[in-house]
């Protein structure tokens, strides 16, 4: 049975939650004064969860985060260190390709952001019809850009160049950012060494087994503590740990200091993903910082069918190995080998073993094997993608 996804404010817990007959359990995001502090998984019995149960479980799950947040509130402090300065205005960019329904949900969510003068930008990547343009015209504030060269990274680069503001927040079209999302991202740019900020991404729904497997094997969330990453506390080649392109903001001068997104990577090219990771790695390697701030919350709709998730996992395998190949060959980063090995030993192999022994919360073997196949293809995919890009130029 499916998992209900609930978003609960600790100070306004309902006495009972019912009407959850379709679900066997609930994934609960716990917030204190709108800030996410933890998550937990609770069983649903007879379609309901009682208030007492929730309260205890949430306190247990959120642990110290909850109390730390509480004490910051009591003291009138903001947990992000830099609460005293004026925040810069930003551009929000959505890169999309032939997914008008998904885009609509995303734009609806963006309409709920408080108006701080942000620019909203939709980059329509190599569209096969006019559906996206028609949807965007319904939203007066949204600027529409058409980019005919295919590739997510191509669209991202276009957004970086065309934005009116110096900070560009990216969201995927299949995500729905929380109203506080943008403010939480931009307030972290106080430090000039921070070129990128990422946020917490939770599943929008877990209605199918495929979605649960996705959330189990490769969740977008990176925990509930704000973390500052730099090349001396995180190996840049392990940059996947800082977040993902579905929920990130960049400073535009990343173009000047780091260079643009590699257009031979990510969706729309043979490499299928990895473009965000690879830029994170270059940012860290050049000595700049990336902040992960869970206050910047977004909701992602995972793929619903097993087939789609299999393809996604395959794509992740290809993308990760393609971006590692780039780092090894172009940047000369020898530690890519170590990272690839430790990913296999610490994550892929244990997942395979769990799956073989059919442990609880294990992911079907075909999905894991798809990822491994992707890894094997990744280096060649990068080389062919690069070659293709060159011949086009």
């Amino acid at each position: 049975m499916a998992t209900a996804v609930l978003d609960l404010e600790f100070e306004k817990l309902p006495p009972e939650i019912n009407g959850l007959d379709r679900y066997s359990q609930a994934l609960i995001l716990i917030r204190l004064r709108r800030q996410p502090v933890g998550q937990t998984l609770l069983p649903i019995i007879d379609g309901r969860i009682s208030g007492f149960e929730i309260r205890d479980a949430l306190i247990d799950a959120a642990g110290w985060n909850l109390w730390e947040r509480w004490i910051y509130n009591y003291l009138g402090l903001d947990s992000a260190q830099f609460s005293n300065s004026k925040f810069p205005t930003a551009t929000v960019a959505v890169c999309t390709r032939d997914r008008p329904e998904e885009l609509k949900r995303c734009l609806e969510a963006l309409m709920r952001l408080p108006d701080d003068g942000q620019e909203l930008l939709v980059v329509d990547n190599c569209p096969s019809n006019e559906a996206t343009r028609r949807i965007v015209t319904n939203y007066g504030r949204v600027r529409y850009l058409r980019e005919d060269r295919p590739g997510l990274n191509v669209a991202r680069n276009r957004a970086l160049r065309e934005s009116q503001h110096d900070i560009i927040a990216f969201t995927d079209d299949d995500a729905a950012p929380d109203p506080d999302w943008l403010r939480a991202l931009v307030r972290n740019f106080d430090d000039p060494l921070v070129l990128c900020v990422t946020g917490l991404t939770m599943p929008l729904e877990l209605e199918t087994d495929a979605q649960e497997w996705f959330e189990c094997h490769s969740p977008f969330g990176r925990g509930f503590r704000r973390t500052v990453f730099h090349s001396f506390n995180l190996n840049p080649m392990a940059a996947g740990q800082v977040g993902a392109g579905v929920n990130m903001a960049l400073r535009r001068n990343v173009l000047e200091f780091i260079g643009q997104f590699d257009e031979s990577l990510d969706v729309g090219t043979p490499t299928r993903s990895g473009g965000d990771n690879e830029l994170f790695a270059r940012i860290l390697a050049a000595g700049y910082r990336i902040i992960y701030d869970p206050a910047a919350l977004s909701w992602h709709r995972h793929k619903r069918t097993r087939k789609e998730v299999r393809q996604t996992f395959y794509g992740y395998g290809v993308g990760v190995y393609a971006s590692l190949t780039r780092s090894l060959l172009i940047e000369g980063e020898l530690s890519t080998l170590k990272i690839a090995l430790s990913w296999f030993c610490n994550s892929q192999l244990p997942a395979l073993i769990r799956s073989l022994f059919r442990r609880s919360r294990s992911v079907p073997l075909d999905l894991l094997l798809a990822e491994l196949c992707g890894c094997a293809v990744g280096p060649w995919a990068y080389l062919s993608s690069r070659k293709r890009l060159r011949t086009k130029e």
Binding site: E11, L27, G38, Q39, T40, L41, R55, I59, D60, A61, A62, G63, W64, W67, E68, W70, I71, Y72, N73, Y74, L75, G76, L77, Q81, F82, N84, D190, D191, P192, L193, E215, C216, P219, G223, H230, S231, F232, N235, P236, N253, E256, F257, I258, G259, A285, A286, G287, E331, G332, E333, L334, S335, R361
Partner: protein, 466 residues
């Protein structure tokens, strides 16, 4: 003194960096402050690269003077410049910074209506693309420092007194006796001046808009870094001799902090080599220095950082050894602390139950060196007097409570009950009591830290399973 538009003397000590100096002077031409109120004094400290000839032909829109002296170090050069300065304010700049146009105006504004203070401006490294590891390391250090000083809740210490972009009234500078020229070329005279400023109760102010860019990537490399560590060893001993109460705060008292692992073995090794076998140590340091280059070429950051730290620690110890001579002298230096009683030990006590604003106001009025904090009957903690740090101000309180006393404060609030008007605060505290107090034996409620950590770890494991 003309408070609205004071005259200002900019003092730039320089040593064989004529091109860099010209960049600094060029940037001063386009200041937003009226230049007839400005004079610039360049003190050429034993220059042999034509710096002085270059200045002779430089036409400036402000009064420009240059003073030559034999090589005596930056401290003497700054004092020398200050002795000739006619301005009401002195602004010290380094010769490798590039001021932004509002620099002078921002310094002047920071002094306005608030006499007798030092104003420190940021001079972060100019940002660039791919940098080598050492510049990343240095850049991270300085940006972290300036970011911390930009927080209103920052508690200043003498190590915040950086002299590359610093202003104060000429009268105050003279009254405190200026920089100590005995530091000569080993640097650290700014820290020592900082100690005297702190002791005299001079407030520090950070002016974020008084910005310069630092071109230190032109002059920083590993060899210079190690040389600087060696000089820092010298200067820290000098600081410790002049201000014995600071000895426990000096890096020499915490050498092991330079080593990421095997701390105490590495500490002993560095000290033994530096004090007893300096020749062998230097011989070993040369090939290890080459290993750093190799590690950078294959971009292995972890081992690079580890080795770089170790070598920095070694060269720092070498500097200390050259100044003190024998291990016995080092032990004496660290142990004999004749002026312990000299530590400024005024402590007060605040009760947070009176309200945070009241507590802050009391700190502002009393300015104690340390404070005992309680919430009604419950002790929350003690901020001990900290040698070399400014006395406490109200604005420090909340940040310190949040970072150092969060757990005891929560416990005190839970036990005493709170009177503030937060929604559902009573419920929260009831939960906290249950979560915290019930999860342990009734007896050991005193050691709050222990049982708060436990559920947290459990929680992390649980989260990973999802």
């Amino acid at each position: 003194m003309n408070r609205d538009m004071p005259t200002i003397s900019i003092i730039i000590p320089t040593h064989n960096r004529s091109a860099s100096l010209l960049r600094t002077l060029d940037a001063l031409r386009v200041q937003t402050y009226p230049l007839q109120q400005v004079e610039v004094l360049v003190v050429a400290d034993g220059c042999s690269d034509g710096t002085v000839e270059g200045l002779r032909h430089y036409t400036a829109p402000f009064a420009l003077y240059f003073i030559e002296q034999t090589n005596q170090g930056a401290a003497a050069a700054r004092n020398h410049g200050a002795a000739y300065a006619k301005g009401q304010l002195l602004l010290f700049l380094d010769d490798d910074v590039e001021p932004t146009p509002p620099l002078i105006k921002s310094h002047v504004r920071a002094h306005q209506n608030r006499p007798s203070r030092v104003v420190i401006g940021p001079y972060p490294p100019v940002l660039q693309g791919r940098a080598d590891f050492i510049n990343i390391f240095m850049r991270t250090w300085s940006e972290t420092k300036f970011l911390a000083m930009r927080q209103p809740s920052h508690r200043y210490t003498y190590r915040d007194l950086l002299s590359g972009n610093l202003s104060l009234e000429a009268e105050l500078f003279t009254r405190l006796g200026g920089f100590d020229p005995a530091f000569r070329s080993c640097g650290g005279e700014d820290y020592e001046f900082g100690v005297r400023l702190i002791k005299a109760g001079v407030p520090f102010t950070f002016a974020s808009d008084a910005l310069c860019y630092h071109y230190n990537h032109e002059t920083t490399d590993l060899d210079r870094l190690f040389e600087r560590m060696r000089r820092e060893g010298h200067s820290d001993v000098l600081i410790g001799l002049r201000h014995p109460e600071l000895r426990p705060t000096l890096p020499i008292a915490h050498i092991e902090a330079y080593c990421a692992s095997l701390r105490y073995i590495m500490r002993t090794l560095a000290l033994t080599l530096a004090f007893r076998l300096p020749k062998a140590g230097d011989l070993l340091a040369i090939p290890l220095r080459r290993v750093l280059d190799l590690l950078e070429r294959i971009r292995l950051r972890g081992p690079w950082l580890w080795l770089c730290r170790g070598l920095r620690g070694y060269w720092y110890c070498r500097g200390v050894a050259e100044e003190l001579g024998t291990p016995k002298a080092l032990n004496g230096f660290l142990r004999n602390n004749p002026n312990c009683a000299n530590i400024d030990a005024t402590e007060s006590e605040i009760d947070l139950h009176d309200g945070l604003e009241v507590a802050e106001k009391r700190l502002d009025e009393e300015r104690p060196a340390g404070v005992r904090i309680r919430y009604r009957q419950q002790s929350v903690g003690r901020i001990p007097p900290q040698p070399g740090a400014e006395r406490l101000r109200g604005v420090h309180l909340r940040r310190i409570l949040a970072t150092e006393f969060a757990k005891p404060l929560l416990k005190a609030l839970a036990v005493e009950g709170t009177t503030n008007e937060f929604i559902n605060a009573d419920h929260l505290l009831a939960d906290f009591k249950r979560a915290v107090l019930c999860s342990t034996h009734a007896g050991d409620v005193t050691d709050h830290a222990l049982y708060l950590e436990r559920p947290n770890k459990k929680h992390i494991q649980k989260n990973q399973l999802i």
